[in-house]
């Protein structure tokens, strides 16, 4: 058996590993929540985000819709996990699971209404955000939102400032 065959096996393994790699925090750290019956799990696949690519954004009148569509067309996947059971416990637990070497904390807030939120981002070697992760916990709800794709904070801040 020559080294060539061996290299073919290696290439195959590397390619397959690429397909199998976890590109989001939910799979990396929160697997058990997916099977937890307390949780509602929603997934939006690339198929839906592709629809936004074909939209003609310039024609849109609703400014918010335009910005949302603009953000959506660069997205690949969206995962949302929510529960109304023991939200504060899940919040603390979830925050602790994340490896801050991979995910940069952009913001942590606890506001007057006692809602806790943490927003994190994972960037590639060019400093482009490839995943935006939101963890929130209040008295009533816990939510985990993972946006995977190319996330432009520029566009997100347009959305923030648009809503006045």
């Amino acid at each position: 058996m020559k080294l060539k065959t061996g290299l073919t096996i290696i290439c195959f393994l590397v390619a397959v590993s690429g397909l199998m790699a976890q590109n989001n925090a939910i799979e990396k750290y929160f697997n058990q929540y997916i099977d937890d019956e307390n949780f509602t799990v929603v997934y939006i696949s690339p198929r839906f985000f592709n629809l936004f690519e074909k939209l003609d954004l310039s024609g849109m009148e609703d400014e918010e819709a335009q910005i949302l569509a603009d953000i959506a067309k660069d997205m690949k996947e969206l995962r949302v996990l929510t529960t109304d059971v023991k939200p504060r416990k899940y919040y603390e637990e979830a925050k602790a699971k994340i490896n801050t070497k991979d995910y940069e904390i952009l913001m942590t807030v606890r506001s007057k209404d006692k809602d806790n939120v943490e927003i994190l981002a994972k960037s590639d070697e060019y400093n482009t955000i490839r995943e935006l992760l939101l963890i929130s916990g209040s008295d009533t709800d816990f939510a985990l939102i993972s946006f995977v794709g190319t996330i432009s904070m520029d566009k997100v801040s347009k959305l923030i400032n648009q809503d006045k």
Binding site: E104, I105, L106, M107, T108, V109, R110, S157, N161
Partner: protein, 159 residues
């Protein structure tokens, strides 16, 4: 002016204090990357916003207590002394009745890398911590008047 890379990093005593109180009742706490603030603040048409200063903030922390101050005098004193041990110096101290205000800064080669403001009164406590690369002029945007001559005299004297 070349921006020096802050060589001190985060302040342990501030972090510790922040983590200790962030879960208290009536507490609002915020931990924010400077560039996120900059991104959002840049789009605002608020003329009063010190954009010059905001540009230079790399990291910001706020801890506020409303409707009561849970920080005892002793804890506050200890905090101030712990902060000073981490190369901070008090540049402004004001007492107005029962309200106390402090401004402490940390420098690296005449560039202010950290600025911490405290408001300590019976029914309110505020900690505002800024990291970045500031000049005295930048801090004046917050109406923080540090007498330049006095200040650098003090620093030189310490060398």
């Amino acid at each position: 002016m070349a921006i020096a890379i802050p060589s001190f990093g985060q302040t342990k005593s501030i972090k510790r204090f922040y983590n200790k109180y962030k879960h208290e009742e009536h507490v609002t706490n915020l931990n924010l990357q400077g560039w996120v603030l900059k991104m959002v603040a840049t789009f605002t048409d608020d003329e009063d916003m010190p954009k010059e200063l905001i540009r230079k903030i790399s990291h910001l922390r706020i801890l506020t207590f409303e409707g009561g101050n849970a920080v005892t005098d002793r804890e506050y004193k200890n905090l101030l002394s712990d902060i000073r041990k981490e190369h901070f110096e008090t540049v402004i101290t004001v007492r107005d009745g029962k309200e106390k205000f402090h401004l402490l800064i940390r420098e690296d080669d005449e560039i202010i890398t950290d600025a911490v403001l405290f408001v300590n009164s019976p029914d309110e406590f505020v900690l505002l911590s800024l990291e970045g690369a500031f000049s005295l002029k930048d801090l004046k945007h917050l109406n923080l008047e540090i007498d330049e001559a006095d200040h650098f005299e003090h620093v030189k004297g310490a060398l």
